[in-house]
């Protein structure tokens, strides 16, 4: 009985995925059943997306990010798995892409879909600093967002980013206006006191300090920071400076996803 209530999560692997293990652990930690599935299994039909409730595309460097980050996997989703993924989404299920997964969702046109078109309208380009950087960032979670992953999340969370191509840019100002209007902006970088950031608090130069967005339904989330790297309280870079907390800030995001199916 209990087993049946556990939502099943498909953590998608491809050549060069590398945050699959900790993403699987994050979902397991909040009571989900999470499987690591190679994209070849979906392409060959050995495993079907329809048997899962949540699709997670983890961080990494799929296919080396050789042409641009996430591009090859994005094209695989767009040209080879489009029907399955569309059906999955339309049946009310959840999709989350973290870091490389976010880059994939954007380049596959699955985010932000401000109006129903699936044409790519935003992208994640090279950091203003010109290099890969690993650093912790303060984020505000937008309480007005329609995103199901962040419902009742504390307004401030602390996650690490680790990327070279994480600068969020939009095709034009109408896209940005729509994102705001639709409540699609989920996470924004901020200073430790919550105010508007500059580098390095905005670690990559993202437009409007945007770190994560969802689609208009709130069921597809993409973000550059890594919530799965802040599950245990000892992940916090300053945990030795204060009393150990009960859990890391990232847990709430995964718990919300699982709670959606409760």
């Amino acid at each position: 009985m209990v087993e049946r209530m556990k939502p099943r999560v498909l953590v998608l692997r491809a050549a060069g995925s590398n945050c699959d293990g900790e993403t699987q652990f994050a979902f397991q930690h909040v009571g989900a059943q999470a499987d690591l599935v190679h994209i070849n299994r979906l392409l060959q039909g050995d495993i079907r997306l329809v048997d899962y409730q949540i699709l997670a595309i983890p961080g990494g460097f799929t296919y080396g990010d050789d042409i641009s980050a996430g591009k090859i996997l994005a094209n695989q989703l767009k040209y080879q798995l489009a029907d399955q993924i569309l059906a999955f989404h339309q049946s009310g299920k959840l999709i989350v892409g973290i870091c490389n997964g976010f880059q994939v969702l954007v380049k596959a046109g699955m985010l932000p879909r401000v109006d129903t078109t699936a044409e790519q309208s935003v992208t994640l380009t090279f950091n203003d600093s010109g290099r890969f950087e690993d650093r912790w960032v303060e984020l505000t979670a937008n309480p007005k967002s329609v995103c199901v992953f962040t419902q009742e999340m504390p307004e401030r969370v602390y996650f690490p980013v680790a990327h070279a191509e994480g600068k969020f840019v939009v095709q034009d100002s109408t896209v940005l206006a729509k994102l705001h209007e639709n409540g699609q902006i989920v996470f924004r970088y901020c200073r430790p006191d919550g105010s508007e950031p500059t580098y390095p608090d905005n670690p990559n130069g993202s437009v409007d300090h945007i770190a994560g967005i969802c689609d208009p339904t709130g069921r597809v989330l993409g973000l550059m920071p890594h919530p799965e790297r802040h599950i245990d309280p000892t992940n916090h870079p300053q945990w030795t400076r204060r009393a150990l907390r009960a859990e890391g800030d990232g847990v709430a995001l995964f718990r919300n996803a699982v709670a959606y199916y409760a």
């Binding site: 050549a15 070849n40 080396g64 050789d66 094209n75 790297r229 245990d232 000892t234 400076r241």
Partner: protein, 954 residues
């Protein structure tokens, strides 16, 4: 037909590559550049319609939002003035990763007519440049001629697939005289000496036949210094004493005598294994990749980290890589170009390339790089050192291999190319200014994604029990891998079965190629189909290339013909033991005194800004040090996440608080005075870093990596003997066994004038420890005003090789020594104080001594410190404030303790030298009162932090 597609970022987007090149040009002193533009170029071979070209450009290569492109023309950047356009492409045979991925991407679009892809990059410079300046920019910044060249407009990019005519080559050895033997060794780059050549000659005389080229090559690989460590395991005549196998008498011996129950497998497999918990062990290996990194820093470092990852992966039945470490030694990054010897890359370019190489491989593999060090010295200009380490996690029942005749030999992972031919033998010789040309075959570029796929698949195959033995293809390629693994049984290999990157390789090149990302597994016949299916399902190549035999011989065949046959016992045990002479004489160093200035703040600033002490944040941030989700103590920490940690702590199993602690010790400056004390100090430093974060002495294992000059020269070898003996002495007292190690000798560089520059004797000690509960960890940043500050350990007058004397330009032979028994008591006491939760912050005193330790703790915590130097425990000859503040005596710590924990802390420390020397203050000022009762340091910690951060803030 060939389609050329060119892309660039649309205007308005930051072009980091163009900016970087622009900045580097200004660094060269060329100021006339007005504009730099950067373009990515793709050449596609195959018939394509206009629509298909358009699709490839728009849907695959270009980002819809940020990129613009041009097909068979140039992306135009309007400008006034003269423009100079340069296109750079890889040399033939060099791995082009983006081209390979693009090929896949085109197929994913459903376009199947493209046969091959090549990439290039184009730069456009606007400004008035002279021909000499253009040449300088091209050679110093745009091209490393070892792997790439400026493309000429009508150059051929694609070549027809051709195989060389197959002909067995024998080398006439039987009748050769000594001069002829040496000529053969030299001309074939075998690096075998006369006695070794004579031994081979005698062997083949007894067989009554001439050797083939592949047999000679295999012997040269196996007998190379790199593979056999013949110097350190041979005989050494040292000061009237005859040492048979130095390693066995020092490093191995201490491990054997300590006989720790948690040492699972030491000095026999690709990495040393120690116990972790009831289900897993951990293994650790550190390697060097010095010569390749000197020639091509990016590729050299890239394949250095890629190679060392395959060591734990090839240990037992394979360990999952969980942590990377890296330690570099470079020339000073501010030396003028004009003083560089010919053929030597500028240290800044070497450093940028090496860091990028480690970054791109480690990050793409998804392995946190969380421990390291960088050391600068002029003697590394021609010979940079690149140490790469990897820790792996292995199930307790997967630590042993089984060699059974009849099993299939399967090569898995990457394809074999001409890359890295002669790497093992080349790394055993000296570098010279012609190196970049003569050994271009030795340069390799890694493909981390192929290795990542390989790891993912091997871990599944291992857990399913699908193979019985595994090893990596490292130096010496398949020759070493198969030769080593089948040593006790024998093997037959079909060289034409080995999958190749391109046509044109001879049978000999296939056997000794050091192409990356390959492993060899031995598979039972009944499991073969399952193995091949599993690898295919993950898009990883797996190919049967031969069979394990029982005749203790290696048989090499090509197109059905035998091209080589060697007896395993001759291959592995036939090498004559070299005898080398060694001596050591203490250098004459003038004993100079310092003036004990009234204000020590300027010296403190200078030491903090010294390249060896300053913040390495620019490097560390480029590494993903958090991937895999188990990071507990990061390399950067404190109130603003930018203080220097002592050691990293990582939880490899996310549902457990058991953790791996990693640290290192390295101080070549001491080695120039006395390598014995350098080695003692390196061990002490590595160990005390682990103690400082909460590790305990009874669970620490060590690794040794000796990088030395040419040990054919008695003084170089003598200094190594001294260092090895210190390893025994100190590790014995500390109870810390060595579990693995490696040496890289011949790190010398010959300049055009014939002068030889040797590196300083450089011993890297890496330490690994298991910590039961990561929640006991202590970081180095000060935590709260009002807490007490304690100095632990004795400060002696030991300023030889210190940073204080270096910034003052003074010399002294009083290098820091280790008082082992006293140190051991201190380590145990600090450990127990941390276990009892009495310590809020702990930092070790190393480069820059007490002064730097206190300053770092203060600015990392965003707090101040007020200390009294008169209270610092010290030997009676320490009479000056500057000595107290900057002496680099070993086995010392600074601890922060809360008021209500002081009694308990002091109880833990009883019997040790320690004293309360001051307290933490809210005001961010570092104040030190001197022996005369006057303030000798009164400085804002933010100013100190600024000095510490500015040097390498690139």
């Amino acid at each position: 037909m060939i389609t050329r597609i060119e892309l660039a970022l649309k205007r308005g987007y930051t072009d980091a590559e163009a900016n970087k090149i622009g900045a580097s040009i200004r660094d060269l002193g060329i100021k006339s550049i007005e504009q730099v533009s950067f373009f990515r170029v793709f050449y596609l071979l195959g018939e394509l319609g206009v629509q298909e070209q358009q699709r490839i450009a728009a849907e695959l290569l270009a980002d819809r939002v940020t990129d613009e492109f041009a097909i068979d023309s140039f992306v135009v950047r309007p400008h006034s003035g003269k423009a100079w356009s340069v296109e750079v492409t890889y040399n033939r045979g060099v791995t082009d990763l983006v081209a390979q991925t693009t090929f896949k991407g085109i197929q994913d679009l459903g376009i199947s007519t493209v046969q091959e892809v090549k990439t290039a990059r184009r730069y456009e410079f606007v400004g008035n440049l002279s021909e000499a300046e253009k040449e300088l920019i091209a050679q110093k910044l745009l091209v490393n001629k070892v792997i790439e060249h400026v493309k000429n407009p009508d150059e051929t990019l694609f070549f027809p697939a051709l195989d060389p005519e197959f002909k067995i080559i024998t080398v006439p050895l039987l009748g050769a005289d000594d001069a002829e033997l040496l000529r053969i060794s030299r001309e074939r780059d075998l690096f075998l000496n006369l006695i070794e050549m004579q031994t081979i000659q005698n062997h083949f005389r007894s067989l009554k036949r001439e050797p083939t080229d592949i047999e000679l090559e295999m012997l040269a690989q196996t007998w190379s210094e790199h593979c056999s460590h013949k110097t350190l395991t041979g005989r050494i005549e040292f000061e009237g004493e005859s040492i048979d196998n130095l390693l066995k008498q020092t490093i191995f011996r201490v491990t054997k005598e300590l006989n720790k129950p948690w040492c699972v497998s030491v000095f026999k497999d690709n990495a040393g294994i120690i116990k972790f918990d009831e289900n897993y062990h951990i293994c650790f290996k550190v390697e060097t990749h010095n010569h390749p990194s000197a020639m091509e820093p990016y590729g050299g470092a890239n394949t250095g980290i890629g190679g060392v990852i395959r060591d734990p992966l090839g240990t037992g039945l394979g360990a999952k890589p969980i942590i990377n470490s890296d330690v570099f030694c470079f020339g000073p990054v501010d030396v003028p170009h004009s003083i560089l010897p010919k053929g030597v890359l500028h240290p800044k370019r070497v450093m940028q390339g090496v860091v990028a190489g480690v970054r791109d491989y480690g990050n793409r593999m998804g392995i946190p790089t969380n421990n390291g060090a960088i050391c600068f010295d002029e003697r590394y200009i021609g010979n940079p050192l690149v140490y790469c380490g990897n820790v792996g996690l292995i199930p307790v029942d997967k630590c042993e291999k089984e060699i059974i005749s009849g099993d299939w030999i399967v090569v898995v992972g990457g394809r074999t190319g001409r890359d890295g031919i002669h790497g093992a033998t080349a790394s055993s010789g000296e570098l010279h200014s012609e190196s970049e040309g003569t050994w271009s075959g030795a340069v390799q570029i890694g493909n981390p994604i192929v290795e990542k796929k390989l790891v993912d698949t091997l871990m599944q195959a291992r857990d399913l029990g699908l193979y019985r033995a595994i090893t990596d293809c490292g130096a010496g390629g398949l020759s070493s891998a198969v030769g080593e693994l089948a040593k006790t049984s024998g093997a037959q290999v079909e060289l034409d079965a080995v999958p190749l990157k391109y046509h044109g390789l001879s049978y000999m090149e296939i056997w000794i190629s050091e192409a990356q990302e390959r492993m060899v597994i031995f598979v039972a016949p009944e499991k073969l189909d399952t193995v091949l299916a599993l690898f295919a399902s993950e898009d990883v190549e797996a190919t049967v290339i031969g069979k394990v035999t029982a005749d203790k011989k290696i048989h090499l065949r090509y197109r059905g013909v035998q091209v080589g046959e060697l007896q395993m016992d001759f291959l592995h045990d036939g090498m004559p033991k070299p005898v080398r002479r060694a001596q050591w004489q203490a250098p004459k160093i003038e004993e100079q005194g310092s003036s004990d200035p009234a204000d020590l703040a300027p010296a403190l600033h200078a030491i903090l800004a010294a390249p060896n002490v300053c913040s390495k944040e620019w490097v560390i941030r480029q590494y993903d040090h958090e991937v895999q989700g188990g990071s507990v103590l990061k390399p950067l920490l404190g109130a603003e996440n930018d203080g220097p940690g002592n050691a990293s702590i990582t939880r490899p199993l996310l549902n457990s608080y058991r953790a791996v602690v990693l640290s290192n010790g390295l101080n070549p400056k001491y080695g120039l005075i006395d390598p014995y004390h350098m080695a003692s100090s390196a061990i002490d430093e590595a160990v005390r870093n682990i103690i400082a974060v909460g590790g305990s002495l009874d669970r620490i294992a060590l690794l040794d990596n000796f990088c030395w000059g040419n040990t054919d020269k008695p003084d170089r070898l003598g200094s190594l003997v001294r260092a090895a003996r210190a390893c025994y002495d100190i590790a014995k007292i500390y109870g810390t066994p060595f579990i693995s190690g490696k040496d890289s000798l011949n790190n010398e560089y010959q300049t055009d004038s014939g002068e030889t520059i040797a590196i300083p004797p450089t011993l890297l000690i890496s330490a690994i420890a298991v910590m039961e509960d990561a929640r006991k960890a202590v970081s180095m940043d000060l935590k709260a005003a009002g807490n007490s500050i304690y100095a632990v350990g004795l400060t002696r007058k030991e300023l030889g090789g210190s940073h204080y004397y270096e910034v003052l330009g003074l010399t002294s032979a009083a290098v820091p020594q280790v008082d082992g028994q006293r140190a051991r008591r201190i380590f145990e006491a600090v450990s127990s104080a941390i276990q009892e939760d009495t310590v809020r912050a702990c930092h070790d005193c190393s480069e820059g001594g007490l002064g730097v330790a206190l300053a770092e703790m203060a600015f990392a915590g965003g707090l101040g410190a007020e200390v009294d130097l008169a209270a610092v425990p010290r030997s009676s000859d320490v009479r000056q404030n500057d000595w107290i503040l900057f002496s680099e005596s070993n086995s010392r710590f600074v601890c922060e303790v809360e008021a209500d924990k002081k009694q308990e802390f002091e109880k833990c420390l009883s019997g040790c030298d320690f004293a309360e020397i001051g307290q933490v203050t809210a005001e961010p000022i570092f104040r030190a009162t001197g022996l005369q009762g006057r303030l000798v340091v009164c400085e804002n910690v933010l100013a100190l932090k600024n000095s510490w951060q500015k040097t390498l803030k690139w």
